[in-house]
């Protein structure tokens, strides 16, 4: 099979791969081109060619949510998305939340409320909690619990994560990011 073929104008779909193809990915407002095989997941593209290792891969099956990033502002498991299918959608990772040295309110609240132990689930947790705050003013503890229902934390930080996010919501008065 050819490495890359384009549509011939007769309705034949463009085919990429199985070898590496060039992809333009917009991550944290910066568009970069990477070479990737169709089988490369977004999580692998972020951690590999893009060097953004804040996003973690744990289960690699969408079952733990450690790899959570935003696609057009919506939390998704980046391990279950093919990089080749991201297209024009904007990717936001944990590296894109802080403004310079100023932490996102959820990040600051995680520090203040000791919501981190080993830290492996934390980037994903923060992405889900920050997405919640972007859409929900002053979320309740139940709303935070629902927002993080896909996340597994072996250290058991859940109560601190919920307290931190409720506190961050109370402080930001519902202003979006």
């Amino acid at each position: 099979m050819a490495q890359s073929r384009n549509a011939d104008g007769n309705g034949v779909p463009p085919v990429g791969g199985p070898g590496a193809v060039s992809l333009a990915l917009t991550v944290n407002d910066i568009t970069r081109t990477v070479r990737a095989e169709p089988r490369l997941t977004l999580a692998e593209a972020l951690r590999g060619p893009l060097g953004l290792t804040g996003t973690k891969i744990a289960c690699d099956r969408g079952a733990c949510s450690a790899c959570t990033v935003w696609l057009d502002g919506v939390p998704v498991c980046s391990c279950m998305i093919l990089a080749i299918e991201v297209g024009q959608r904007r990717v936001t990772t944990i590296e894109g939340l802080a403004e310079g040295e100023r932490l996102h309110p959820v990040q600051a609240a995680f520090v203040a409320h000791d919501a981190v132990q080993c830290g492996f689930c934390t980037p994903g947790m923060v992405m889900s909690c920050a997405a919640l705050l972007a859409h929900t003013k002053q979320p309740s503890a139940d709303a935070v619990t629902a927002a993080i229902s896909g996340h597994l934390c072996r250290c058991g930080t859940y109560p601190h994560v919920i307290a931190a996010t409720v506190a961050a919501g109370a402080e930001t008065k519902g202003d979006g990011p």
Binding site: M1, G11, R39
Partner: protein
Amino acid sequence: MNRFALAHARTIADAAARATTTVADAMTAARSNATRPASLIKAGGIDVLDLMKENLLAPDMLVSLRDVAGLDTITEAPDGGLRIGAMVTLGALAAHDMVRRRYPALAAALAGAASPQIRHVATLGGNLLQRPRCWYFRAAAFHCLRKGGGHCFAISGESQYHAIFDNRPCAIVHPSSAASVLVALDAAIELVDADDTIRRLPLASFFVAPGRDTERENDLRPREILTAILLPPPAAGLCTAYLRQGERSAFDWPLAEVAVALVRNEESLCVHAVIVLGAAAPVPYRAQAAEAALLGRRVDDNAARAAARAAMEGATPLPRNGYKLPLFEALVHRAIMAAVAETL
């Protein structure tokens, strides 16, 4: 995952022409022709990529439906029902205003499925077509009946999450919660082939029980795309409920789930009853004895309890899943009472 090419289909016919095989056929040694390249449809990819990561599936090409126009819309049908494109995500459907108002049991089932992240990507079409979650089926080490082997490991093995009805010769439970509610709501589906020929059939008759074929859960054909799920308008006085019980309150497969759709006449007598059990059988299971127990009767607590007992008639539990009988009985009773509490 194996190396594969990815095609972005532009039209349904495009996609259908390229889909040389179904996931079920590709996973069955007896049916797949190993010398011929296998090309499969990919929607959200949650199940297909999972199967590939577990080395249960190794297609040469995935045909993505992402760029096909019109598959991800929800529209009101001329008859007042709802036409749901197969690429609509579970999250978008659960949040849709008309679904929440007119089909609340469906919204409830969708909102309890998987995690927010998965619901944002997983599609309704993919949810209905996903392969079963039986741990023997999902483990490459077990060459089970459903993969073309000669034995169901669950029947004599770890059967705690398996079927209590119609569980021979294979004891999977159907993995889709949405399917149970959609069957209760009398949904239909639309399938389109490479010639743009439309095949429309009730969702309930799309599913395939192990007695007919152990190697697939539905009647999807090669070069055929599931394009839409069609909901009829809710009948006057229709009341519905969906209840589930799992080991965890979130992000877990149900141990038992029940979808109920009832209509009562002006004398408060039940004139229509559909009770569907999920996580009970290899296909969404109509508890017909329970339905018969309600028809023509006033739906009160006694009638609901009698129907719940009747729902377990004919159950053939396995050594490790007998606990499901009292669980389902309680859930059927509660779901009937929840449905009638909702209206009238």
